[in-house]
């Protein structure tokens, strides 16, 4: 998270910087002393979070907040003030939180930890159905391993759900079609390639005891399932057991990473 500090007192800025960088490992991307520099600094540093001294010299909160909301809808703003009574007005003006400077630093830390946690929850609690891949490339159990192999190389994917008459009956991975139950001592152990797809139908090399997840479950649950069983992707099924999608470790990784580069204010995670 990138944080911009706006406070005219050097000792407050250095205390905040210490707290943010050392306690929370956040990035302090700049320090603003005068209200008129605020917008310029935000443009230049693209913070996710602004810690704004409510008594910043020159600050007309009635003017600046609408500008910030308009131009930086994803910027999270926390107002800091030496006057606890300023709280209600600050919140009414549209800041996301108000912290009194008279309170111990723990208050600010707690608030920031909450923000960090809700960030993580946003991805963790997102629903599988909103993030899965729906155009799943599947294969029939009667297809030959070489076809499965070809399809995976061509589409640069690592696994294919196996579907028979609309029913999900198994999953076949890249290594299944190649390593497929070659008998020890066969030519597959020789010095030559020989690890060509075996001349077997997919149904003889696929995994049938497969893990699936319901589309209404969360991304966190899907990640847990993959982690526990050391698998890279899980087919998503509807209430009748029909295949509706697939969610992979790579999909989830991308979601998390996208959140890193986006703002924090947006509460809805949009696919």
């Amino acid at each position: 998270m990138r944080v911009l500090l706006a406070d005219d007192q050097p000792q407050v800025r250095s205390a905040l910087r210490l707290l943010l960088e050392h306690e929370l490992k956040l990035d302090v991307v700049g320090e603003v002393i005068y209200a008129e520099d605020l917008v310029g600094y935000i443009n230049a540093t693209q913070p996710n979070l602004l810690l704004l001294d409510w008594e910043l010299p020159g600050l007309s909160t009635k003017e600046i907040l609408p500008i910030l909301h308009e131009n930086y809808p994803n910027l999270l703003i926390i107002a800091l003030s030496g006057r606890p009574e300023a709280g209600p007005a600050a919140l009414a003006a549209g800041v996301d939180a108000f912290i009194s400077k008279g309170h111990p630093a723990e208050h600010l830390l707690k608030k920031l930890r909450e923000i960090n946690a809700s960030e993580r929850l946003l991805v963790k609690n997102a629903l599988v159905k909103d993030w899965m891949t729906t155009n799943v490339i599947v294969i029939s159990p009667q297809a030959m391993s070489v076809e499965a192999h070809h399809l995976m190389v061509e589409r640069a994917i690592h696994r294919l759900p196996v579907v028979d008459e609309g029913q999900l009956v198994g999953i076949v991975t890249f290594s299944d079609v190649l390593e497929a139950k070659a008998s020890p001592g066969s030519s597959n152990n020789g010095p030559l390639p020989a690890r060509l797809p075996l001349p077997l139908p997919v149904e003889q090399v696929m995994t049938t005891s497969l893990k699936t997840i319901a589309s209404e479950k969360t991304v966190g649950e899907a990640a847990g399932l993959m982690q526990q069983h050391n698998i890279g992707g899980v087919p998503v099924v509807d209430e009748h057991g029909g295949l509706v999608g697939i969610i992979t470790a790579s999909d989830i990784f991308r979601m998390v990473v996208r959140r890193w580069s986006e703002g924090l204010r947006r509460q809805q995670l949009t696919p």
Binding site: P193, A194, A223
Partner: protein
């Protein structure tokens, strides 16, 4: 996590391969170690990267034009140098994780070699490693409500 330097999360013991390695051996090395990419190192310097898709893309292209015997011959006489990607995108150990993943997204790479100033490979960072770290973090987190 996103503001940590890559060195905190990278895999340090990188399995590498020489450009002169025959393809079947590269293939076995990947299978044996359950990995999909190998940095290619010559005289201590990183010169390329070879992925399972490079390998199988090559074998497949060959397989459709020649018979199995010829294919065996071609493959066992081909080396990693023939299929590797030259001058791969690299990062330094000090690169921030979020910069590294931005690069991975931009180029659609699922892993990046980490090299020091003298061009020696010191680590590798992959999508699946990072996923494991994140998922573990989620599993360890106490259940909270949104």
């Amino acid at each position: 996590m996103q503001n940590d330097p890559v060195k905190k999360w990278m895999t340090h013991n990188v399995i590498t391969i020489s450009p002169d390695t025959p393809l079947p051996e590269a293939d076995r090395l990947m299978i044996g170690n359950k990995i999909r990419r190998l940095p290619v190192v010559k005289d201590g310097q990183l010169v390329g990267i070879v992925t399972r898709n490079n390998l199988w893309g090559a074998t497949y292209a060959d397989a459709v034009t020649v018979n199995l015997y010829e294919l065996n011959h071609i493959l066992s006489h081909s080396t990693v140098a023939r299929v590797m990607t030259l001058d791969p995108v690299v990062i330094s150990p000090e690169t921030l994780l979020r910069e590294a993943v931005a690069l991975m997204m931009e180029h659609k790479f699922s892993g990046l070699p980490v090299v020091d100033k003298s061009g020696h490979i010191v680590g590798i960072i992959t999508e699946s490693d990072l996923f494991r770290i994140m998922a573990q973090d989620w599993l360890n987190q106490p259940e909270e409500s949104a």
